[in-house]
């Protein structure tokens, strides 16, 4: 059975696209045929993060409007043949996505893919609504910061009332917390909400913590999902998340400040 994962948050700039690219690549590298869809109509970016921006010919809206077939629009990743990308349209028409159209494309993808990752745009408008509407699982990407936590909670309200599963009174969408851009040193100083603080407020199943990391910018500069940088903290954190999602019991990392040696401790500011 195929599973549809929405990567969502409400707030913009928290790491949804970074996360979508990383986990889609992670699932594909584990051998699962995975499609990742950019729902950010008008602001296509996932292609850039995945490094396939020059190979975009057709997009999501072309497929919905029958101007291209799904096979024509899907871009096969050059590094992993199990990963396919469906880019967003650059149209300014905000009504280009429809429930019927999105449903049709997802149903077709479900026939041959194991995981379908939907990269949601920010906000709670049409694009964000459609990205989560058909989801089975939701990865709620949250930064340890007041407005992000609040928006995540609003998104939880929407997931539990406005999704297809909610409307049909089926088993609710499974919600997972991904706490990203986490800085353990600042948490220790009392300057940043801790994992426990955020959990006390949102009480979600914690899939993992992604540290604030230089590796993310380097990865996006080169169009490589950060999960492929397996020496980096963020890359490892995303790999752990994929393992946990697939049912492995991987202990959490990157929550506490890395232990520095005596030298580091003496000179810590």
């Amino acid at each position: 059975m195929a599973r549809i994962i929405v990567v969502t948050s409400g707030k913009g700039g928290v790491g949804k696209t970074t996360t979508s690219a990383a986990i889609a690549m992670g699932l594909a590298k584990k051998g699962h045929k995975t499609a990742v869809i950019d729902f950010d109509v008008g602001l296509r970016n996932l292609d850039l993060i995945l490094g396939c921006e020059r190979r975009v010919v057709y997009d999501f809206v072309n497929v919905i409007n029958d101007e291209a077939t799904l096979n024509q629009a899907l871009i096969k990743d050059k590094r992993c043949d199990k990963l396919f990308v469906l880019p967003a349209s650059q149209t300014r028409d905000k009504d280009a996505l429809t429930v019927e159209g999105v449903g049709k494309v997802l149903n077709e993808l479900k026939k041959t893919f194991k995981y379908i990752v939907c990269d949601s745009p920010a906000g709670i408008e049409r694009g964000a609504h459609l990205a989560m509407y058909f989801a089975d699982d939701a990865f709620v990407v949250t930064n340890p910061e007041v407005s992000s936590v609040r928006d995540s909670d609003r998104m939880l309200g929407i997931l539990s009332s406005k999704s297809q599963r909610a409307e049909k009174a089926e088993t609710p969408i499974k919600e997972y917390l991904l706490l990203t851009r986490y800085n353990p040193a600042r948490v220790k100083l009392g300057e940043m909400l801790s994992v426990d603080d955020v959990q006390d407020i949102l009480s979600l199943h914690l899939l993992g913590v992604i540290p604030e990391s230089q590796a993310v910018l380097n990865a996006s500069n080169s169009g490589t999902p950060v999960i492929l940088d397996d020496a980096s903290d963020a890359g490892q954190a995303y790999a752990d998340i994929v393992d946990r999602y697939l049912g492995e019991d991987t202990p959490h990392r990157f929550i506490d400040e890395e232990k520095k040696g005596l030298f580091g401790r003496l000179f810590r500011s």
Partner: protein, 84 residues
């Protein structure tokens, strides 16, 4: 300030403040979104009925909806004007 206090002085813990504010806000927003959608309309109509009999302001009427696992309660509170 003693020297000891000087060294012990820490920056205010803003994370704690953030958490407290969020807990209050999120609890409030969650209860608001779980309210039945007819609530504002009900409030308006009740107001109209009550005004037929007593002179009250909008602020004098409050409707509180609460739900937990086994029951839902609707609490109506009307502050009647004082007698002259």
């Amino acid at each position: 300030m003693s020297l000891l206090n000087y060294f012990k002085r820490t920056k205010p813990n803003t994370a704690r403040l953030a958490k407290e504010r969020l807990q209050i806000l999120v609890a409030h927003e969650r209860s608001a979104r779980n309210q039945p959608s007819y609530l504002p309309e009900l409030q308006k109509e009740l107001m109209a009925v009550i005004k037929k009999y007593v002179q009250v302001n909008q602020d004098d009427i409050s409707i509180n909806y609460e739900s937990d696992d086994d029951q839902e309660t609707l609490e109506l509170n009307i502050v009647l004007p004082e007698h002259d």
